[in-house]
């Protein structure tokens, strides 16, 4: 969702080329000066959307139907971007945009395509264009009330439905590199070799032995570990800033973090966490797919209570929180985590079970 698919990048370049051309075309066109600003804005945005669709035809030739739809869409948008003085321009434009939006959502739901930055940007351009098309112009009498109603209802509904569909798809069908929303996995081989399995076992044994003293949280506190988030949540990462700053790399005796379940008897140690210092710098991976690191990206972090949520597909966070990414990390779970000893997440049911024990 936050990446650009290689076969979609060309659409972005096409839009950037189309922008100045559309502005020049608007300036050269006699009579365009007298046109309302909203109509001229719609014309430019439609030309950009058309260019994106036409740009994608070439990279989708192996999917005949998709390529044909891109071509038809592109031609329709480009033509409509220049036909703004036509009597039926508004209804034709609104229809084409609405059909395109619903068509794209159908593609997403049916898993024919995965939303990426180019797709989301195009949908936002189309939604904005639809708004400009629907805005009644001063002095225009026909359909005025209907257009205001459509603007007030259709744009919010379409925007929320589009964003929700894109987001649900990204959450429900993460690609191979995304363990879940916001976590990007290190690229590895598919199946662990015997050597990798043995190396993963060694890492587990050494780490479990090294962090055993921290089963008593007071020892962890004395060593410099501090809770890094709310202790009302099922589990909390305790971070050692000295170890983070020192740059230890996957050292079982100096894990940057410890993970405690917040039980009614107090913090109970459930694992350790190694963390690299820089975003995008994945650590050594002795166990191949068993010990793949992960990086959390596009998290909305708030200092109030040290809480998190996820950035929306429209790249916004709740106010009071900021979008951050954190350097790659690797967990070692010393409890029987159903997802595995090095899984990205701890199983919530297991944490609840520990709490109740």
């Amino acid at each position: 969702m936050f990446d650009i698919a290689p076969d979609h990048a060309v659409g972005l370049y096409a839009a950037l080329v189309a922008l100045p051309l559309a502005l020049v075309a608007l300036r050269l066109r006699t009579g365009s000066r007298g046109m309302p600003g909203t109509v001229r804005a719609a014309s430019v945005l439609m030309a950009m959307s058309g260019a994106i669709h036409l740009g994608l035809v070439g990279t989708h030739l192996d999917e005949i139907l998709t390529a044909a739809l891109f071509a038809a869409n592109g031609v329709a948008y480009i033509a409509l971007s220049q036909m703004y003085s036509w009597r039926w321009w508004r209804i034709a434009s609104a229809s084409v945009i609405a059909v395109t939006l619903f068509g794209y959502l159908g593609y997403i739901v049916l898993d024919f395509d995965t939303p990426d930055q180019v797709a989301i940007a195009t949908k936002l351009l189309e939604l904005t264009t639809l708004g400009f098309v629907l805005v009644p112009v001063r002095g225009e009498r026909p359909w005025r009330r209907l257009r205001w109603t459509a603007l007030g209802a259709a744009i919010p509904i379409l925007t929320v439905v589009t964003v929700a569909t894109v987001w649900i798809d990204a959450l429900a069908r993460p690609d191979a590199q995304h363990a879940h929303a916001g976590a990007v996995l290190q690229a590895t081989n598919d199946v662990a070799t015997p050597e990798q399995t043995a190396a993963a076992q060694r890492l587990y044994d050494e780490t479990a032995a090294a962090i055993a003293p921290y089963a008593d949280w007071r020892n962890a506190w004395a060593a410099g570990y501090r809770p890094g988030g709310s202790q009302t949540l099922p589990s909390t990462h305790w971070m050692n800033q000295r170890y983070v700053d020192s740059g230890y790399v996957m050292d079982p005796h100096h894990p940057q973090g410890l993970v405690y379940a917040n039980t009614k008897h107090g913090p109970e140690l459930i694992g350790a966490m190694f963390q690299m210092r820089r975003i995008g710098q994945f650590g050594p991976d002795p166990g191949g797919p068993l010990t793949a690191w992960h990086q959390h990206e596009n998290i909305c972090f708030t200092p109030f209570g040290l809480e998190f949520s996820l950035m929306t597909p429209t790249a916004t966070c709740p106010i009071g929180s900021i979008d951050i990414s954190v350097p790659p990390m690797l967990h070692v779970w010393i409890v029987d985590n159903p997802g595995g000893r090095f899984a990205v997440d701890i199983d919530d049911r297991l944490v609840r079970k520990i709490d109740q024990s």
Binding site: R138, F304, T314, T316, P318, I319, G320, S321, D323, I324
Partner: protein, 111 residues
């Protein structure tokens, strides 16, 4: 229109925090509420601009300047702030467009 889109983006951001509130993140509840109120305020500013209220224009420009300044700071900080196409469109291009349009004559921008 652009203010309507911006208010929708904030509304979605506010709603998006709700599941985390249910998961026990109590402060996110306050942020979600504040974000939805900001979305409402932005929508009302849009209506005010449409009705040619000079004060609404001033507030809208101020809001966009604050958004741009915040985005600039976040882009400069090494915290991995998203600088993708959509982020640039929503957090940079949209506020710039609103400021440019509102600085122009209102009949030009909203006729």
């Amino acid at each position: 229109m652009l203010l309507l889109m911006q208010s929708l983006f904030w509304l979605i951001a506010g709603i998006s925090a709700a599941p985390f509130v249910l998961g026990g993140e109590v402060f996110m509840g306050a942020l979600a509420l504040a974000t939805m109120l900001l979305a409402l305020a932005t929508l009302l500013l849009g209506v005010g601009v449409l009705w040619r209220r000079h004060r609404a224009r001033g507030w809208a420009i101020a809001l966009e300047v604050v958004c741009l300044a915040g985005t600039a700071i976040l882009l400069l900080l090494p915290i991995g702030f998203n600088s993708g196409v959509v982020s640039v469109m929503v957090n940079v291009a949209l506020p710039v467009a609103v400021i440019v349009l509102l600085r122009k004559d209102s009949t030009e921008a909203f006729s």
